[in-house]
């Protein structure tokens, strides 16, 4: 019987097992190097240890993390920091033993903290991540990486020098249906990738209630350029990350157009974006996001010459139907030069449905599909596994492979996209921001 408070960590182990992990084996996890440290054997090693976690930013996302952290046995939440007192109070009620701070620098001075989780507006990511690493804390920061390319580069360089663990909120890397889909794509199930289509549609103003006018810019930080890069960094980061993961490449250029079409309420960031990212091999990823129509929801389609993978739904489709079982056996016999029965005869075969695209599922059984509508976090989208992994790494000190690089590249691409839309021209991936990771 699993105790409820061990649930999340059990989930992480179960998740690793579901991916086909066999004790002692490394072959499967080689395709997902960032998961290599989270095997059941490794969990036993840290069974009697605890990591002391502090949170900077205790708004909706911070509180979402707290709920998950409270379920992890080897985590102790020791400190909370926010400069907005209603959020700090709400978080404090969830974990009353934690010390509270309004100045994060003061909090980072504490020697009682092993790891820091940052869920703050984008403009704060860079100073907080750099300060946290400088204060010798293992650090987890929400995506995107930072507000500017220069800040991203500074974080990337700090990461090269530090011996601390650094994570970013790239939860698709921890989502079973994404991992399995990508493994299938890389094994050639849908053939060569010839294109990608990503979109994220919502129909709401993307606002939070503001109790007093002077709080507008800090509460609705997503809408202003000083604190946000808009739809690109808030939503597109995840999808461009997946696009690169699928193609094992980084785009070399982007064109796009962005406008404020519907929510003309004083906001500064686009509410409608359409972009095309170009990879050196000619493959293009189209990206669309609108927040005044939600009909299409959220999705990432990987288009192959033999099939299509709908990543967000964990579904895939073949361009052509597979040969019927009996005929397939005959073909295999001839190919292998064997004579055998062809098991096909029977009363007339009646098609069950009109020939439409037959749906195939990446993960068997019921899966959770993220509609993309939640502004806090979707159920079972990998976020829980991601935070559990970080907490384990905060004990072992093992750096996670690929996560920083994936976040760095997708954030730079988002910022390039904004630049392309702002300046209405094609933007090439700047040489000075290229890192030794994947192919450009």
């Amino acid at each position: 019987m699993i105790k409820k408070d061990e649930q999340i960590d059990q989930d992480l182990r179960k998740f690793i097992k579901n991916l086909g992990y066999i004790a002692g084996g490394t072959a499967l996890l080689a395709t997902v190097p960032w998961l290599q440290s989270f095997t059941p054997e490794k969990l036993k090693e840290i069974r009697n240890e605890k990591t002391r976690i502090a949170l900077i930013g205790t708004g909706s996302r911070g509180q979402y993390h707290i709920h998950n952290l409270l379920k992890i046995p080897h985590v102790e939440i020791v400190a909370l920091c926010d400069n907005y007192s209603p959020n700090l109070k709400a978080a404090s009620e969830l974990c009353p033993k934690a010390k509270t701070y309004t100045d994060y620098k003061k909090m980072l001075e504490s020697k009682e903290i092993d790891g820091v989780i940052i869920s703050t507006p984008l403009n704060w990511h860079s100073p907080m991540v750099l300060d946290s690493l400088a204060a010798d804390k293992h650090t987890f920061c929400e995506k995107a990486m930072a507000l500017t390319m220069g800040e991203c580069k500074a974080i990337y360089e700090a990461y090269q020098k530090t011996d601390k663990v650094l994570y970013f909120g790239m939860q698709r890397l921890f989502d079973e249906k994404y991992i399995k889909s990508l493994q299938m794509i890389h094994s050639g199930v849908i053939g060569d990738i010839v294109g990608m289509r990503c979109h994220w549609f919502r129909n709401n103003d993307w606002r939070r209630p503001v109790p007093a006018p002077h709080l507008e810019r800090s509460i609705n930080w997503r809408l202003y350029k000083a604190s946000s890069a808009g739809l690109m960094t808030e939503l597109a980061t995840h999808q461009l990350e997946v696009s690169n993961w699928a193609l094992k490449r980084i785009p070399d250029s982007v064109v796009g157009m962005g406008d404020i079409v519907f929510w003309k309420d004083g906001r500064e960031v686009y509410d409608s974006v359409s972009l095309t990212y170009h990879y050196k091999n000619g493959v293009k990823t189209t990206y669309e996001s609108l927040i005044a129509n939600k009909f299409n929801g959220m999705g990432e389609q990987v288009l192959g010459n033999k099939g299509t993978m709908e990543l967000a739904k964990g579904e895939y489709f073949f361009e052509y139907a597979k040969p019927a079982a009996g005929i397939l056996q005959l073909i295999n016999q001839v190919e292998q030069q064997i004579f055998d029965n062809i098991p096909v005869a029977g009363p007339s075969w009646v098609p069950e449905i009109a020939t439409e695209h037959e749906t195939n599922y990446v993960v068997e059984g019921k899966i959770n599909i993220n509609s993309g509508l939640s502004m806090t976090g979707a159920y079972k989208d990998g976020s829980e596994e991601l935070i559990a992994s970080f907490c384990q790494a905060a004990i072992t000190g093992e750096k996670a492979k690929n996560i920083v690089e994936e976040c760095y590249c997708s954030t730079i691409l988002c910022l390039m996209g904004n630049q392309a839309m702002d300046e209405q021209r094609k933007i090439d991936f700047p040489e000075e921001y290229k890192i030794p990771y994947l192919n450009f």
């Binding site: 040969p323 004579f339 009363p347 009646v350 098609p351 020939t355």
Partner: protein, 272 residues
């Protein structure tokens, strides 16, 4: 999805063509020994022929020849094309050869007047219509056989599992070996048939489709759990025999079989 696709396997010069939605079922052909060019060009001819025949013989197609005849022949004689005339005469001949059990009206073919002089058809009763369900696939198979002649020696054609044509032999055997599974018991093989330059037709009921064979004289559905397999050189006759033997009594069976060349017959009783 495209309803047709094909694939050529270079290493074994095997061609596979598949048509997923034709005459109410699925069509597969595997040919061995032809070049890619020859195989693909034959495949295009086969597709055109199947589409043409479906357009002519499918009573569920509102614009097919047969739909027109069914709609008009009640009111006045309808002149038909030479090919349709041949088909109807052929069906009448098989009606006579099967004690009236092979009946494309599913009711009473004697109430159809076929006028040889102007090649017209007239229904003498107002509730008569044609249904080529038990004929069209066999007819199509014969047409395909003609298309393949002198071009491909070894071919295996599967038209909805119930109509199979084996030309020549399996490239690694002396014939095509076809096994039949019990539709009521997955995995249980009822038997295996050897075919070479022969057609195999299978009739019977299935759990998913228990009411589709009708006795033309009594008008009742044949619901027994029986599978009838017939191997004959001619695809049309294989079709006609597998269906009529499913509904014939013992005397009728003997009568019918005395009039056809049959190479193999299997009757499986698959339980209640």
């Amino acid at each position: 999805m495209d309803s047709c696709y094909c694939n050529y396997y270079e290493s074994s010069s095997l061609f596979h063509g598949s048509f997923l939605d034709i005459m109410g079922t699925r069509f597969d052909i595997v040919t061995v020994g032809g070049t890619k060019t020859v195989s693909e060009s034959l495949w295009n001819e086969i597709i055109s022929e199947l589409v043409r025949l479906d357009k002519m013989l499918n009573r569920y197609d509102k614009e097919s020849d047969i739909t027109l005849i069914n709609a008009r022949a009640v009111y006045a004689p309808v002149k038909v094309t030479p090919e349709m005339w041949n088909i109807l005469s052929n069906c009448r001949q098989y009606y006579d050869m099967t004690c009236g059990l092979f009946d494309i009206t599913l009711k009473d073919f004697s109430q159809v007047y076929l006028n040889e002089s102007d090649k017209s058809v007239f229904f003498l009763q107002d509730n008569i219509s044609f249904d080529f369900g038990g004929y069209a696939k066999g007819y199509a198979m014969e047409k395909i056989k003609a298309l393949l002649r002198f071009k491909i020696d070894n071919a295996f054609v599967n038209f909805g599992n119930s109509s199979i044509l084996g030309l020549g032999h399996h490239p690694f055997g002396n014939y095509w070996s076809v096994s039949i599974e019990n539709p009521y018991q997955a995995g249980e093989v009822l038997g295996t048939l050897e075919i070479s330059n022969n057609a195999l037709s299978t009739s019977g009921n299935m759990p998913s489709n228990p009411k589709h064979i009708i006795h033309p004289i009594s008008g009742e559905y044949i619901e027994k759990r029986q599978i009838v397999c017939v191997v004959t050189p001619n695809s049309v006759e294989a079709e006609i025999l597998s269906t009529t033997l499913m509904i014939a009594n013992d005397k009728e069976k003997a009568d019918i079989l005395s009039r056809f060349q049959v190479n193999d017959i299997r009757i499986y009783n698959t339980g209640e």
